[in-house]
């Protein structure tokens, strides 16, 4: 019978089935400092070991300062959590890319970049943005700490089988430098809602997907969770195989694997999805979120909607939109390009890879950050940082007034010192504009790297379609 890519990966990982629940074998388990300490405690108190240390990789990303790494960490609770991970990895024999490692970085940036992420694998991590790895045709999803402990102890996870959701992304973008992968995924979430993907694994398909680079595909899959989906998937192709070739942890006889993946990792023609949605990219323009969840997003050419306009007859949504407008201190009807900003954050597992930084640097080159704005670039990993510096991007950003930081999650969630002050408004390339996400009382507008860069220069949002980005 014709099968979807999801079904193929799922079926090849079932170790057991018990009354409608499947025990899935996990090929790669990624660990970070925030959601793992209690899991290791659980192992210790039950005298259990890590079953597959060879499939488990750890790094520190959520908590780490992005300032000078030769200095001690000032925040004692952060330091304790980082030390706990070091201790746990040592005790249980797990490979750790620590704060001084040249491979340290956001877990969803380093997985692909080290070739830990491979097509056809199952990947879990105690972080909802694990969906990122789906860009390589791997079934990757976030789990809670109890499941982290479960995977450490058994290398497996129990799951109900998710439904399949096909999202077709079709057509030619008007200007691929101005309308980015971020704008595509925000447009999708705007239309299907933050709960639109609950209980499903999304497969992104269509001619626009084939056209996107691996880094852009990661941006799309990364935000699958913002639509509530368990995971996002893209079938691997030549771009995928080229990206991974020669990376540190890929198998030795890589070319033979590629042949095998080519044959086996795609949705059969005639396979049925439980749900389908199509978006045409020729109509998409740069997106800016105005509210407190990623579905509260409009075109940069548009205006802040009224609660009624946003809710389209749903009373719960109307109430939520009214509350969001109040929190964001925005009035319905004002133009998006009239919104002034105080801060700019270019970073996060959504948009901190080399290509994101290259595109953003084109906007800022030779220009100065607005005197009202504090702007920072936080590369996703030490490797991204190094590659960017080899291209001289650090100099471009610093010359224009950006701070150039060390790698980590940083102001995406503000667990380290990089936070918004109450009332500050930020153009951010991250994934969540929830209340207080980037700092208590902080106001987040989600945008692409080029949109964030242009906002930094102008002090307010601008439509990057009007800029020369080639």
């Amino acid at each position: 019978m014709a099968q979807t890519l999801f079904e193929k990966i799922w079926n090849s990982h079932v170790a057991d089935e018990q009354s409608g629940r499947w025990l899935l074998y996990i090929d790669r388990h990624l660990i970070h400092e925030v959601t793992s300490p209690q899991a290791f405690d659980g192992l210790r108190s039950n005298k259990r070991k890590v079953r597959r240390t060879d499939l488990t990789f750890a790094t520190v990303d959520h908590n780490v300062p992005t300032s000078d790494r030769s200095l001690p960490i000032v925040d004692q609770t952060s330091a304790m959590q980082i030390m706990a991970l070091e201790r746990n990895c040592k005790e249980f024999g797990i490979q750790l890319f620590d704060i001084h490692s040249p491979n340290q970085g956001i877990v969803h940036v380093i997985g692909p970049e080290l070739g830990i992420t491979l097509p056809g694998t199952t990947i879990v991590c105690g972080d909802s943005h694990t969906s990122t790895h789906g860009a390589f045709g791997s079934l990757a999803f976030g789990i809670g700490t109890s499941d982290v402990e479960h995977v450490l102890a058994t290398q497996c996870i129990w799951m109900e089988k998710p439904k399949t959701f096909e999202i077709k992304i079709e057509g030619k973008r008007r200007n691929p430098h101005a309308v980015t992968a971020k704008d595509i995924i925000l447009s999708i979430i705007k239309q299907i809602g933050t709960g639109g993907g609950v209980g499903t694994v999304i497969e992104y398909r269509g001619d626009t997907i084939s056209e996107l680079s691996m880094e852009q595909r990661m941006t799309i899959c990364n935000m699958s969770i913002e639509a509530g989906a368990r995971a996002g998937l893209i079938a691997p192709d030549e771009k995928t195989f080229q990206y991974l070739k020669g990376r540190k942890y890929v198998p030795k006889n890589y070319d033979e694997y590629v042949e095998y993946w080519c044959e086996n990792l795609k949705t059969d023609s005639g396979a049925k999805f439980d749900k389908s949605f199509t978006i045409q990219t020729d109509k998409i323009v740069p997106q800016v979120s105005w509210g407190t969840n990623p579905a509260m997003t409009v075109d940069v050419t548009g205006r802040v909607p009224s609660p009624e306009e946003h809710a389209k007859g749903n009373p719960d949504e109307e109430k939520a939109a009214a509350k969001a407008l109040q929190y964001m201190e925005l009035k319905p009807g004002i133009s998006i390009t009239d919104i002034s900003i105080d801060r700019v954050f270019i970073g996060s597992c959504t948009n901190s890879r080399l290509e994101d930084l290259i595109e953003a640097s084109k906007v800022v080159k030779g220009k100065k950050v607005s005197s009202k704005v504090r702007a920072m670039v936080v590369p996703g990993s030490q490797l991204v940082k190094k590659q960017a510096e080899e291209l001289g991007l650090d100099k471009i950003f610093k010359d224009s007034g950006f701070e150039w930081r060390e790698s980590g999650c940083s102001m995406c969630l503000g667990m380290n010192p990089d936070i918004l002050a109450s009332g500050e408004r930020c153009a951010s390339t991250s994934n969540r504009n929830f209340e207080g996400r980037q700092g208590f009382g902080g106001r987040t507008h989600l945008v692409s790297p080029v949109m964030a860069a242009a906002a930094a220069i102008n002090g307010h949002f601008v439509d990057v379609q009007d800029l020369d980005l080639n």
Partner: protein, 196 residues
């Protein structure tokens, strides 16, 4: 885990849609390395003023709900971050049951791992529960909610029901299937395209 019994309590109505886990437990409390004591941080930014005083208009600060064990919320509760700290906080605060029209996937399974019962009901039932002032009773064994002498049945996955009722240790249960795991690993070892 303690076996889950009948829960009888008034309900705490938190009338918001799409409540994300960042609101349930803000990030500054994720740096702790233990599982206990998170109740004090539950809905922290919604619950307290900047100076630490309770916000008067927030439902958890309304004394009539002080000992409530059942939380009522709108659609897509627990979306966003996978942080299990959100469930630890709800549980530690005293909530044993959460009722909504839908839950985010990761949050939903995190609940069962910590002895919290998330119940999905339809819009009409949720509305009825939001308008009730009296105590309700949740009987997991019989999959019934009692409201003002009316019974409302609810669905739950058979496995999760068993986990809660028996207070099972998930990992111990899985390790009973270790032969299957070993068999899978053996097949991988012999595979030409081994990935684990």
């Amino acid at each position: 885990m303690k076996p889950f019994g009948i829960v009888r309590s008034i309900v705490t109505p938190l009338d918001s849609v799409n409540i994300d886990t960042d609101q349930i437990v803000p990030k500054q409390f994720l740096k702790l390395i233990q599982k206990s004591g998170f109740g004090q941080y539950l809905f922290f930014d919604w619950r307290y003023e900047k100076d630490g005083k309770p916000k008067k208009d927030f439902v958890l600060n309304d004394l009539q709900y002080k000992n409530s064990k059942i939380l009522l919320v709108r659609d897509n509760f627990g979306c966003g971050s996978s942080r299990e700290h959100a469930v630890w906080a709800l549980q530690d605060y005293g909530f044993q049951v959460i009722v909504s029209t839908s839950f985010a996937d990761i949050f939903y399974s995190n609940c069962f791992k910590n002895g919290v019962l998330p119940i999905r009901v339809n819009e009409q039932t949720l509305q009825k529960l939001f308008s009730t002032k009296s105590e309700i009773e949740v009987d997991l064994e019989r999959q019934i909610i009692w409201v003002n002498a009316i019974t409302i049945p609810f669905d739950i996955e058979a496995h999760w029901k068993k986990v809660l009722l028996e207070g099972l240790d998930d990992i111990a249960v899985t390790l009973k299937h270790e032969d299957k795991i070993l068999k899978y690993e053996k097949a991988q070892e012999n595979s030409k395209f081994r990935i684990s």
